[in-house]
Symmetry: C2
Subunit: 332 residues, 2 copies
């Protein structure tokens, strides 16, 4: 058996409130902060450093997605490193603070893993959203969650975007993913969704501790949904108002294959509009509230099975050799 | 058989967007306005005047419940008639415009019926919400909808508030009710909820036309849910943040009897909190998004059966006599 050895993950960040009205993450991070305080009072030693972050406190306070601009689109290389005007949007300023705390992005000082907590109004169950389909850490964590929970459907979504162009908070860590759970209306907290997220985060942290302790995780396969394209609502050419809603046969059917000529929208006058693509694809983010303004009624993905290798943590010696290698690269 | 004769209803208002992020009403009123334009182009004569109103265009534009203050709390006698400062909230100004168009409230010039369209994140099906449990017009319309639709659960909710203290837009008409449909996240339009509202409004207008034409409607009974009290979320005494969500056994169970000691909340640390009332009551508006800020986790109602009489429209002579009576009252 080939076992891929990967660096230890001593620092993990769990972030909530990146979108201020996605409440599971807001209340979960608050709860974890309270629990952490109790642990610290007991002065218990924890070998894993878990950083709990409330990403957008102003948006949380107003129970809105964002104040000036979508924080979770601010973490591209260009936006993090460009000139910053005096009247910069709040989220641009906040993204640099977060990059300083959790990053800098692309730097060896960055935290090892960022898990950013999100909710969606779409019926997506629990999804990992990542920029890579070969990040064995994220994919092994995903498999661990799949094996540990049986009452929540789970999928792994891959946005094929380069590291430089990646725009979301989780891209600041060495590894990172968004944990997206729905359906839940924004501005609302539902016990079942909150609990699914809490359990997911616990399993994720458990996995990291077991990994760091030296356990070997066997290889296997993961079904990956790679985002292919977005589809917008039909709109009035003058007013740009939408003229149709998601068809009742598609609503809540995230990850159910959509075939050419299947019903897709129902206009407000009652007409059915059909999917005009050439290829059957998997819809997701169907009728996500926050995407009306982004011109996205749903996204479409292709599914394929990815084989992942067995992994284990590097030994002290391997880590040391790696560090020296990195240092000599720096010197070049 | 005793038949109560009631005045004709020549003018009806259908209002959407009173809350700018409750989208079924917004899109339905836009659709009805388009249809009206087509009818007007054909110069067809319609004996019933139906006024379509988009109540809060600024909030709609921002896809928020309101801009400065909740418009649907601005229609008390005091707020409509008090002094108005230069820096009055937008909704205070807008409420007076609407009162001028649809009212004035309490005045014989007011429209005969206001149907104000709303959505809720709660699993309430289609509800009429009214201030009276003896408004035979509203209650007969409700019975007509109940008899005409079988795929949407329907309830009649009564808020026991005096006409003077009544605060919502529908209180401006001679008769009025809110048509509240859920579950739907705010900022989202779901086809099934949109269609239920569209069909509901069509049946409502059909009923008014049939009533005006002189048809007798038989008496019968209506189950009325009278609001008794609101219950807030458990909150942190310092931060005022909520510390629990609706219990999974109560979530989505609107109008299912809640007994003393039944689970009610689940704290974010996982503890169950129970209903401490003395009397079994019917919960509704369970986990409504917009009520977090109002301190309402759910409302509780008592149910009772109300007998309603047979009704028909007054004859021309009766109407004339009524008008004279009203004029002489005015002179006194």
């Amino acid at each position: 058996m080939i076992v891929v050895c990967l660096p230890r993950l001593p620092r993990v960040a769990v972030c909530g409130g990146t979108h201020g009205n996605e409440l599971s993450g807001v209340y979960l991070v608050r709860e974890l902060l309270k629990a952490e305080k109790k642990v610290m009072e007991k002065e218990e030693e924890e070998p894993l450093s878990v950083l709990m972050v409330l990403s957008n406190p102003r948006a949380m306070q107003q129970c809105r997605r964002y104040v000036d601009t979508d924080l979770n689109r601010c973490f591209t290389h260009a936006k993090l490193n460009g000139p910053i005007p005096d009247d910069a949007p709040y989220e641009i300023i906040r993204s640099r603070e977060l990059n300083a705390t959790l990053g800098p992005k692309g730097n060896p000082e960055a935290v090892d893993l960022v898990c950013d907590l999100h909710n969606t109004t779409a019926n997506m169950g629990l999804c990992f959203i990542a920029y890579s389909d070969c990040d064995w850490i994220c994919m092994h964590i995903f498999r661990h969650l799949q094996a540990s929970t049986n009452n929540v459907p789970m999928r792994y979504i891959h946005f094929d975007v380069s590291n430089k162009e990646s725009y979301s908070l989780d891209s600041v860590g060495k590894h990172g993913f968004a944990m997206e759970i729905g359906p839940q209306p924004h501005g609302v907290v539902r016990s079942n969704i909150y609990t699914a997220m809490k359990v997911g985060v616990q399993h994720m942290l458990d996995w990291v501790r077991i990994f760091n302790s030296g356990t070997i995780f066997e290889g296997g396969c993961v079904d990956v949904f790679t985002m292919i394209k977005h589809i917008d609502y039909p709109r009035d050419s003058e007013t740009r108002n939408i003229t149709a809603a998601i068809h009742p046969q598609v609503q809540d059917r995230d990850f159910c294959l959509l075939h050419p000529e299947d019903p897709l929208f129902q206009t407000f006058s009652g007409e059915t509009l059909r999917y005009k693509g050439n290829e059957p694809l998997y819809p997701f983010f169907i009728n996500e509230c926050a995407y009306y303004e982004k011109g996205i009624a749903l996204s479409l993905a292709r599914k394929r099975r990815v084989m992942i290798p067995a992994i284990r943590v590097q030994t002290e010696q391997q880590q040391q050799a790696n560090k020296q290698e990195f240092a000599s690269e720096e010197e070049e």
